[in-house]
Each structure stands twice: as structure tokens, then as C-alpha cells.
Subunit: 478 residues, 2 copies
């Protein structure tokens, strides 16, 4: 651009023009991405070939064609090399620190919850493990193009620290549950922990603090109502598991009418637009109507739900009825992957199997769920989920040069059915480049690996003891 300005000045001088020409300086941008095939996910789902995204500080200030290149001067220009430029993906349901345990108890264990899950959480969870595991998980997320994740776990202040170190955006819900847990010796101790956390992080640019009452069957009516009132007062989200299992109604205390979990939440007055409902597998049309009326979001976890044999959520119905819905992986002991790439294909394919219809949940709709849909589910669509002026600059570049990305006739189909995490070349969050050419820019990955290897060795040793109490499924004995 400087060259162009000089050229104009030279021409003006050469033409003998003596009048004073005042060249207004071009508006300043911090970062421009050019030569991209842009998936905007704006209201028209506009695609822009050979497009440009202009970012200043944390905000997208322009999205359009190549002519934008002559309208801004930028500190930094990234050439996307005909790669796909799209909104960062949003993982709407996770328990990220459990990445420290992923791969354990996968041998067909009948009593996996008691043999592995509970002993690991009671013996091995600590502030330090949660911090280190979140660092690993956030790197894994960033390297696969997830820029925002929503999580329900413990010691969420450690998670916030780790997430910010890597540079991601997160909605972090402190778990509230009727049992003593790692960060709360008293039942429901998470309630106090959450309030402190919310007060500390309320105005953080990357972290949205939240309450995470575990489920309707593990949190009392009175506590759910208290959380609901506090969430309204503090204006924070409420993350909760709903309809993951078919038998939840019967497990809810104080449910004399045996209402469905969704109907019960509505009945006790807590189902509202601040809620994010994880799973929603075992929900019927009446439940879907209630969710829609409430404005609550839904986190659809198709891969985890298949692996865990918990069922297929009525996601096609919820999508058609325009519920705010995004995709999630669930925790790393459930789906083992924290990125969304495989989940993209499950999001479509599970609905196709269920409805016996190969024409539904097309790639464009799946990418919608992974981006703006996720933002709507988390009630953050004013801020993230699409490449539009005024939105936060959460952007990823997916290269299209690798063998698995060729040909690329339809970028949505290329993303959903061909792409792998390693095709993400660059990840930008809040205007910061957190990964470039597959290299993390902020976090010390060698240090993370060092700590994770120590945790891995310790847990591997502990797991040998756990294996002795594990009961192998009879179906594997044949």
C-alpha cells in the first residue's frame, strides 16, 4: 500500500499538478488474512472466494473481496494460500482436564464408573493436574481449530489460567453437586467456589465464568433454584447435563409427577435462556417445545453418545425447529478426542442413520452447528461464531493443499468429510495468533509435555491397581 501511495504522489508530481493533494492515511489494521476461501457463516451464509478478513486488535473490522487490500494498512498480513478461512469452531460440552485419564478403562469394563472413573477422580485429581491437563487439552483444541470451549469441571480457576496461557476462549462452569468433590469438601461446596470464580473473571476478555450444576438428578430443587437466581443476578450461563440417560426422571428427587428432566426444570422455574443443556438425547417433542420457548441452548455430542451407547439425540428435529444448538465432544474419557473433526461427520451421519435419509444434515448445516450454532447455544452469538464486522476475531485457516483436502469442490463438504485436525494451519483467538503453521505461539509446549509425561507415568502405575477390580463385560468372554 505504501508503494501505491508513493506511486500516486509521483504521478501527481510528474503531471505537474501543483495543487496540494491531501492523502488521508489508510485505516490501520493489526492483521489481514488474504487469499482465503471465506466461510462467513453470516445470516446469508455467504462464501467469498479469494476473500479478505481485516482484524484490528480483538475485532473483525471488515470481511470482503480483494478490494479490501487497498483500503487498509496492516501491521501483519497472512496469506491463506487459497485455504479455507472460517470462524473458529466451538466445542459446547467438555470436561477437559479428564484428558489426563483418556484411554483408561477402554477394554470393555462393565463397572468402568466405579473401577476407573471414581477412583481416578478421588485419588488423582488435584489443582496441579487440572492445570497441566487443561494446558494439554487447550493445545490439542487450538491445534485442531477450536477457539472456544464450554466446560463443566472443578478448580476452574486453574482451568482459566491454563486456557489463557494457551490463548483460547472458554466458558468455564464450576461444578455444583450433592457429593464432596476435589475442590469442595462439603456437598454443594462448588456454589461458593463458583461465586468467587465468577467475581474474579466476570470481565475477562477470554473467560466467561459460569455455574455448572451437574444434573437434575444430582442437584436438589432448592439448589437449582438458588443457582438460577444467582445466574440471573450475576448474568452468567448455567451449564447442566440433561437427558443423557433414559432413566433420569426416576432419579430426580422431588419429582412426584415423574416429569421428564426438561419438564421438571421448567416446573421448578429454572429452565431459561441462560441454560446450556448437554446431550438432550432422551427428550421428546414436548421437551423440545419447552427448550425452544425457554431460549436455552443445546450441546449435541453425537460421537461421545455413540461410543458410550447412550443413544442418538433428536438433533435433526431440534435443528429444523431452530433451537440454539452446537456440537460438543463431551469429556476425554467419553469421546477421547477434544477436537470437533470426527464429531462433524457423526453430527450428520447419526441423523441420517436414525432417519434413514442420506439427504439430511448436509455439510453446510454441520458447519453451522460447529460455529454460529455453538455460539447461539452458549448465548455468545453477539460476540463469536461468524466472520462479520464487529465480532471478536476468532478465525481459523484450514489448508487445502494436502492430499486429503483435494479436490475441494464444496468447502463445507471438504471440511465435514475430508479434513483432519492437522489441516488447520493457523488459529486466531480474540485477534491473537495462538497457532501458526502448526506451531503454538504462546504456550511452552515442551514444558507441558514434560509435566504430562510425569502425570502419565504416575497414573499408569495407579491404573494397574484399578485393572484388578475391573469386571470385563461378559460379551467379550465368548
Amino acid at each position: 500500500m505504501r508503494i501505491k501511495i508513493s506511486l500516486i504522489a509521483t504521478l501527481l508530481l510528474a503531471s505537474g499538478c501543483s495543487s496540494l493533494v491531501i492523502q488521508a492515511p489508510l485505516p490501520q489494521a493489526s492483521l489481514i488474512i488474504k487469499n482465503g476461501q471465506i466461510i462467513t457463516m453470516n445470516g446469508q451464509k455467504q462464501l467469498i472466494d479469494n476473500g479478505v478478513v481485516v482484524i484490528n486488535n480483538d475485532t473483525i473490522i471488515a470481511v470482503g473481496d480483494q478490494t479490501l487490500l487497498s483500503k487498509y494498512q496492516a501491521t501483519r498480513i497472512i496469506d491463506a494460500q487459497n485455504g479455507i478461512v472460517m470462524p473458529g469452531m466451538i466445542n459446547t460440552h467438555n470436561h477437559l482436564p479428564m484428558i489426563a485419564f483418556r484411554g483408561l478403562g477402554e477394554e470393555g469394563i462393565e463397572n468402568r464408573l466405579f473401577a476407573y472413573f471414581f477412583p481416578l477422580e478421588s485419588e488423582k485429581l488435584s489443582r496441579e493436574l487440572i492445570y497441566q491437563a487443561t494446558r494439554l487439552g487447550a493445545i490439542d483444541l487450538a491445534q485442531s481449530g477450536v477457539t472456544t470451549f464450554a466446560d463443566m469441571y472443578y478448580h476452574v480457576d486453574e482451568m482459566a489460567k491454563a486456557t489463557k496461557e494457551v490463548g483460547l476462549r472458554a466458558v468455564l462452569g464450576e461444578t455444583v453437586i450433592k457429593f464432596p468433590v476435589v475442590d469442595a469438601k462439603q456437598p454443594y461446596g462448588g456454589l461458593e467456589y463458583a461465586q468467587k470464580f465468577i467475581s474474579d473473571y466476570k470481565n475477562d476478555p477470554l473467560i466467561t465464568p459460569a455455574f455448572a450444576p451437574h444434573a437434575a438428578y444430582t442437584v436438589s430443587k432448592q439448589k437449582l433454584q438458588q443457582i438460577s437466581a444467582l445466574s440471573q443476578q450475576l448474568d452468567v450461563p448455567v451449564l447442566i447435563h440433561v437427558g443423557e440417560f433414559g432413566n433420569e426422571s426416576g432419579r430426580i428427587n422431588d419429582n412426584p409427577k415423574q416429569l421428564s428432566p426438561v419438564a421438571w426444570l421448567k416446573d421448578i422455574g429454572v429452565l431459561d435462556k441462560r441454560m446450556v443443556l448437554a446431550h438432550a438425547i432422551h427428550v421428546d417433542q414436548a421437551d423440545i417445545d419447552l427448550i425452544k420457548q425457554s431460549g436455552a441452548g443445546v450441546a449435541y455430542n453425537p460421537m461421545a453418545n455413540a461410543k458410550g451407547a447412550t443413544g442418538i439425540a433428536p438433533a435433526w428435529e431440534m435443528y429444523q425447529q431452530q433451537l440454539p444448538m452446537g456440537l460438543g465432544t463431551d469429556g476425554p474419557m467419553s469421546s477421547n478426542q477434544v477436537d470437533l473433526w470426527r464429531t462433524l461427520s457423526y453430527a450428520a451421519n447419526m441423523q441420517r442413520l436414525k432417519h434413514n435419509d442420506r439427504t439430511i444434515m448436509i455439510p453446510e448445516q454441520v458447519i453451522e452447528l460447529a460455529t454460529i450454532g455453538g455460539a447461539r447455544a452458549l448465548h455468545m452469538d453477539d460476540k463469536i461464531g461468524s466472520l462479520e464486522i464487529g465480532k471478536k476475531a476468532d478465525v481459523i485457516i484450514v489448508e487445502t493443499q494436502s492430499a486429503n483436502m483435494m479436490p475441494n469442490y464444496n468447502p463445507y463438504a471438504t471440511l465435514v468429510y475430508q479434513a483432519n485436525p492437522s489441516n488447520v494451519s493457523t488459529t486466531i483467538v480474540n485477534g491473537n495468533i495462538v497457532m501458526e503453521q502448526r506451531q503454538m505461539t504462546q504456550v511452552d509446549t515442551a514444558d507441558v509435555t514434560h509435566h504430562i509425561r510425569a502425570i502419565e507415568a504416575d497414573i499408569a502405575e495407579f491404573a494397574k491397581e484399578l485393572a484388578k477390580k475391573a469386571i470385563t463385560s461378559p460379551s467379550l468372554m465368548k
Copy 2:
């Protein structure tokens, strides 16, 4: 090893030993892989930590612990750096050249077969496209750790040329079908084409030529019997689609008793141990019994079958009854990915959903299907599918240093649920390193990209015309 020998000699001299010590030279190997976590997939499914695989020319000559390092001298040593060393994966069902068309017609098209599939095959298929597309597909396969693929397509001599150029192993079945096709103007012209191809490639070290009668409903009883007799005489496999759709019985000519496709094949005398049955979704226990008795192999394509909404094969039943069964992706217009990584997770998860049991089809069983199971399905388990002395050296190394591969408590679970294609660092076929540190060693990838981009541009233009005749599914109109 030279150091060790010198040391012994020095010690012998130093000890004043005057007798003549004859040091037998160490046996020669062409390639040693050390520091691997070895998945052997031998009869005991032995795992060897810090293990060694010794290869000479095209053959595995030793598999064991570190002590092997002092027993062989090798021209080349690869340090697996604690990565997983395993048999190359086997994709038992594909139509690889359709990779040129992948991503087309994914917008929820009701008449996709007529709007896209048929016009593309009739207007755009050529010898040249089949050659170039196979090169691309074989690179994609090699980069994701597939060392052998079985395919049903046309101009298989071009496919053989391309496959050998990349360096992979393949079972290539020339399609025989009652319609005129790209390489046969007359109905069933593929029969003659196949015989020529079989005669040319019968003793090729990498290519196993085969007949590929399309299906029971597209090939006559008489032609199937002729193929069966020829396959016996020439000792080659017969690849066929069976039970992909629920209505195949009614579509078979000359099926007065309305037998199931499997029972009909048995009835006409062609179901034998040379057959490889692709899909086998719509099969019942009686069919499974017939397949088992015949010795035919089964290619289970769980991801393609989900995407195409054709159903979930009774793979858990077939596995438990020990049918020779492997995994396949189906063609790139069906599943869009040719590698097996996502298919690994679908292989387990679809059975878990179907049986409502999260303890079945555990990772070890899935890796079995992807390796020795695939070899059994293709009737090649005397040659490939496991790391054992005497087997052909088809080996891959999967690194365990990336964030998505940590932790690694159980290598089978790490592979099935965490790994991505890019974690494959090295691919060895028949003793040749065809990919090392993600770089192809034999094929000119830039030249392949150049040709594929030209094909892509031409087809993208043609596809604009096709889109005009495409009928969008009514379910997307809501």
C-alpha cells in the same frame, strides 16, 4: 554393533587369550525399526514395549525386544522414538479413482445417482483420470498408514501403474457389469479386460489382480458362474457388493425363490473362499452361517454406511462368529475419506449403538479388523496383516508425541479414539519406505497435484451444469 564386536576382540586380546576366536558375521538386514511400542497382531496379540522389527528385503525376519539389536547388522535403522509400530492397515473396499469426484453432490440431492454419479462416470472418466486419481488416492492412503487396499473399478491396469508408482499393495478387481462402461463398450466387457489384466499381473509383488462382478442384481447367473470358474482356474479373488441395500433379493434376475443375495450366490454355486463380500448390511443369521461355511471374506464399511444411511451391518455378530472380516471405506463419493482412522471409531461405535452396549467392539478388536482381519477378508493372511517372521514387511509407525496422542495408556485405544492420519510418520510396504516423516519417497507429489488441479477445474465447471438438474431433498426445504 561394530563397536560391540571390537570390544569383544579387545577384551579377548587384553585377557591374553591366544586361541583364534572366529566371530561369525551378524546376519544382514536391510532395515531395522527400534524403540517402538510394537503391536504384533500375531495369534497372541502380543505387545512388545521398546521393541524391534527386523526386515530383510521384502520380508520380516525378526520381531522382539531390544536384544535383537545385537543380533543383526542393518543397512538402515529407523528410531521409532517410542511411537507405535504396527502392521500397515488394510482398506478392504474402495473405488479409489472416484476421489476425483469427492465432495460433489453433497447438498442433500434426492437424485444424486442420476444427477451426479452417472453423468460424471459417463462424461469424465478416462484412462488418464483413473491414473491420476489413483495416484492422489494412493498418496492419501500411504500418508494415513494404509498399506493395502482392495478396489473395484475400471481400467485397473492404470490403477496398478499408479499404485506401484506410489509403492502400495492392492487387490484390484476389474468391474464386470451388464451395462457398457468406460473401459468396455459391450455389456460384460470387463470379463475380457479382467482376464488380460490378470494374466499381466498374476505374479506381481504388489498387485493382486481380481474379478469384480458388481453385484448379484447387476450380473447374470451365467456370468457369475463363468467368473467363479475362471477365478478358480486362475486362483484370483472375486470382489462383489452384497447386502448393501434391503431390496436386493427382488432385483436379482432368475431368483424365483426370492432368496437373499447371499443364499442366491450359494444356490448358484459361486459363494466360495475366493469371494470378498462388500457391505453385508442386510444379512441375517442364515446368511452369516452360509458366509462362514464358504470361507468368503467380508468388508465392513461402517462410516460410509452411516453417511449413506444404508444401515449398520451385523459386524459384532460376524466378529464373534469369527468370519474373515476387515474394514473398508467404500468409494470417495460414499465416505469421502480413503484412510481408515475415522472408520476405526465408527467400526466400534455403530455396533455399540446398535446393541446398546458400550462394552463391545473394544479398541483391540477394532485394530484387529483393520489389520489381520482385513488380511483374512482378502485371503492374504499368509502374507500380510501382522508383524511376524515370514510376513511381508508392511509396517507403519504412528508417533505418540503430538498433543492428541497424549497420554497413551493403551495403544489400541490411542489408535482407535485419539489418532489422526497425520500421526502416521512412516509407511513401509514390502520392505520399501514409501513415506518417511510425512514425505512421500517415490512418487512426485508436485506432479500429482498439478494434474489433479487441472482435473478439478474441469470437473468443477462440468458440475455447475449437473447442479441444474439436481433435485434438492424436500426435507431441506422446510
